[in-house]
């Protein structure tokens, strides 16, 4: 894509980096050339702790098909979990 179009959201979570878990404050979501995945384009999510520098990043590169399947799986898991544990908000 070679553009800078990014969906940016604030998040509350932790991610497993290397070698330790890190706090996550931001997720940047975009569609562009991946660094590692051998595809020309991919859906990329950078989970970040922006206060801790560029290396505080948990990066995920997914094929478009896998990204859509992940969205569906997240929605399904959330719906099931919230039904079983009402009041679990955050």
């Amino acid at each position: 894509m070679c553009t800078f179009v990014t969906e940016k959201i604030a998040v509350e979570g932790h991610g497993k980096g290397f070698p330790e878990w890190i706090a996550l404050t931001t997720a940047n979501v975009y569609f562009d050339h991946p660094t590692s995945l051998p595809l020309e384009h991919s859906l990329i999510v950078d989970f970040l702790d922006e206060s801790a520098g560029a290396s505080a990043r948990v990066a995920v590169e997914l094929s478009p098909q896998s990204a859509r399947a992940l969205v569906e799986a997240i929605e399904t898991a959330l719906a099931r979990g919230e039904a079983e544990h009402p009041g679990s908000t955050g």
Partner: protein, 251 residues
């Protein structure tokens, strides 16, 4: 071919005199050699960009690849590239200052012939076009599939305020363009638009377009790599530099 070479990380004084890291490679023992500034693509100052720098040294050029995202570090180049991207990319004015610094670095070296070219890929191709129209002292420019050279007003930003295409009248050196006909950015229609403007303005240029190739087809570590087209394209690049930079002395 120059089998012996030295490659190392160097410091270039970039925009505003900022010290930025750069990857430099040159043939061992050769003097009176032209220089080439290598502008990396959006994935950053990566292994392939450094391979390109060494390839140019293999062919007798002193090449330097400034890390255009270095102000977003420290960190691994891929993490730093992600940070630069999230910031909306690096400002064009800053990149042009970094290019000017890389040119100064090359000309200051005792082995320099004084001639300096530039080459860039993807976003670096766009930056080559901008530099060739706005930075003094470039003797030959190679734009490899630079995207957004032709850019609608809504795609411009504070960091990238002008479409390089709009500066074409100021192009001050010969320009070589390498494009894949299956690329979407730039697509063949945009390449036609750029070529028509270069022709209209009487600029010295040559464009080579490859069937069966898309975006980034020189990149050996990516799925769009097309060995046959890339091999031919590199031949065009080296021939262009030999003509306009004088070429290196015989090895």
């Amino acid at each position: 071919m120059y089998e012996g070479q030295i490659a190392e990380t160097a410091t270039v004084l970039g925009n505003n005199g900022d010290p930025i890291e750069a990857y430099a490679a040159r043939p061992l023992g050769a003097v009176g050699i032209p220089g080439v500034v290598v502008l990396h693509h959006m994935p950053g100052w990566d292994e392939w960009s450094k391979e390109v720098t060494r390839k140019l040294a293999h062919h007798g050029y002193a090449a330097v690849c400034p890390h255009l995202f270095s102000r977003h570090g420290p960190g691994r180049p891929d993490d730093v590239a992600a940070a630069a991207r999230a910031a909306g990319g690096v400002p064009d004015a800053q990149v042009m200052g970094d290019v000017a610094g890389a040119i100064r670095y090359l000309r200051q070296q005792p082995y320099a012939s004084g001639k300096v070219g530039i080459i860039g890929f993807c976003s670096g191709g766009r930056q080559v076009y901008l530099a060739a129209c706005s930075v003094p002292g470039i003797d030959a420019a190679v734009d490899c599939w630079g995207g957004r050279v032709v850019a609608p007003p809504e795609s411009l930003s504070e960091r990238q305020p002008r479409a390089p295409f709009d500066l074409t009248a100021d192009l001050a050196c010969p320009l070589l363009g390498i494009f894949g006909n299956e690329d979407a950015n730039p697509d063949p229609e945009q390449v036609n638009t750029i070529e028509a403007e270069l022709k209209r303005l009487g600029k010295t240029y040559e464009f080579h377009r490859y069937d069966g190739a898309g975006h980034g087809f020189f990149a050996t570590d990516r799925p769009n790599y097309r060995p046959q087209q890339a091999s031919d394209g590199w031949g065009k690049v080296l021939d262009f530099y030999a003509r306009y930079l004088g070429g290196p002395p015989a090895a």
